[in-house]
């Protein structure tokens, strides 16, 4: 094979792989949107209607309980995780931490990142049992927060790392304290941090394994922090395995909501990042 033939073959292979991936993605999103869209259009109220007492059997009512469950679990989890992640990353990138410590921590974060979410679920469940408690929204929040933590820390760490060193030097040169300088570096890194937080939220909203047996699987409206609750991905699982065809069709509607939310969040993170990037050194011009 001569080098130009090889080049052409490689080019075709790369393009074919890209097309394949895009096609699969388009089909997944397309089918969900089409099928879910049809169900939703026929009866949009199911998203905002609480479930009836025999929802899983008779499909009476809607799945507002899971929409709210997702919000009430993933929202607080994201806030908790964000605080922890930003602090960790800021500490790792600051002058307080040694290079060695940062390296070791980063290795642990990578391990955490790669851990299957179900493991977090089991871990939290173990804690729940050890405490003699029962599964509830609270433990769902804990599990999701643990799941999001490495994701957000990595994003934030990358963002802080890529903030130019010159910003640090410039602020120190003006007589800024370490803290003031760190704040300015964080500002320079804001697009990346915002993207990381939104990404963490999106991943949290989409994950079923972590909440599967930590939040409990309720078919009622969320009743309180220490009451069981269900989230959209868990609901989709339950719906999809139901005997009732109408409930099964609701699975598409719920998937539709999920996918729209997640895609919307990712889009929002890109837009926000672009907006902040205007202020960041080397960012897009206004």
């Amino acid at each position: 094979m001569n080098r130009y033939t090889r080049e052409r073959v490689a080019g075709v292979a790369v393009r074919a792989a890209t097309v394949l991936v895009l096609a699969v993605m388009a089909i997944v999103i397309g089918v969900t949107l089409a099928r879910g869209g049809r169900v939703l259009l026929a009866n949009p109220a199911i998203v905002v209607t609480p479930p009836g007492s025999r929802y899983m059997l008779e499909a009476n009512g809607g799945f507002l309980h899971a929409v709210l469950g997702s919000l009430f679990i993933v929202g607080p989890a994201t806030v908790v995780s964000m605080v922890l992640a930003v602090s960790t990353a800021a500490y790792l990138q600051s002058d307080y931490s040694s290079e060695r410590f940062s390296d070791v921590t980063n290795m642990f974060l990578n391990v955490l990142w790669g851990t299957p979410p179900i493991v977090y679920g089991v871990f939290v469940l173990t804690v729940v049992i050890a405490l003699g408690a029962r599964t509830s929204m609270f433990y769902g929040i804990v599990a999701i927060a643990i799941f999001q933590y490495p994701i957000m820390t990595r994003y934030t760490d990358e963002a802080l790392r890529s903030a130019p060193d010159t910003v640090r030097e410039a602020t120190y040169g003006l007589g800024a304290t370490r803290f003031e300088s760190a704040v300015m570096t964080a500002r320079a890194a804001l697009p990346g941090i915002v993207a990381g937080v939104i990404m963490g939220f999106a991943r949290g909203v989409g994950d079923a394994a972590t909440v599967l047996f930590t939040a409990g699987r309720s078919t009622r409206m969320p009743g309180g922090l220490f009451e069981p609750a269900t989230t959209l991905p868990v609901l989709v699982f339950d719906q999809a395995t139901s005997f009732n065809a109408e409930v099964r069709s609701h699975a598409y509607a719920a998937s539709f909501v999920l996918i729209v939310v997640v895609l919307g969040l990712i889009l929002a993170s890109k837009l926000l990042a672009g907006r902040y990037a205007r202020f960041a050194p080397g960012g897009r011009n206004s």
Binding site: T171, G175, P281, S286
Partner: protein, 265 residues
Amino acid sequence: MTDTVLETENLAVTYTGDRRVEAVKGVDLAFPENRLTAIIGPSGCGKSTYLKALDRLHDIQPNVEITGEVYLRGEPVYDTDEPAPEIRKQVGYVPQEPTALPLSIYENVAYGLRIHGLFDSKDDLDELVERHLRKVNLFEEVSDRLDAPAAGLSTGQIQRLCLARSLAVEPDVLLCDEVTSALDPISAENVEETLAELAEEYTIVMVTHSMDQAKRLADEVVFLYLGEVVETNDVRSFFEDPQHERTKRFVSGPTDDEYAVSDAT
């Protein structure tokens, strides 16, 4: 004649990272008030290292050893109880890379004033920001978009913004590290003109690669080679009648290429 603003006594800086680099080896220099001193020398001879040491900027990274002393208006800079930020406030430092803080144009200049609380009222702050933007000939260019992100300016404008930002905290001396080397020729000329104007009322220590720039701007010239001062003199004598063999070769040499020990930055 003039007072000495800044002075170093046997100042030595050693990087103690993976390998030991004695970047600055015992430098004695004095920088007189309201003069512009240019530090020239081949790439890697320790110019930036020396300049940063004057502002205690090496303190922010580990693996740097500093001996000797720097005196700012007679007061020691290293052997002192004053916190480093207070010292750094009195010494302005403009890095080689034009660096806008992730803030608006206005807030870039206001930054130093804000962290040190150097203004009385919003009007006062407005006035100070405008005055310092005018000093670097930038106000006319940006007066209609003071609240726009500073990152949107051209690199030459950003570099002048950096000068304004440093001047706003009223430092005793301004350190400039090759402030024109990252700029296109026209922006470089603008910045150079600004420096020439500032030189009349400020004490400036400037590192430069360009012999011509030193000739145009400097009152005093220091020739640094491998971390040591080879020669220092006023600009005319330095270029017209260099005392040392090495200076002669550097000044008249084709370029500094033959001396370049590391990549030019």
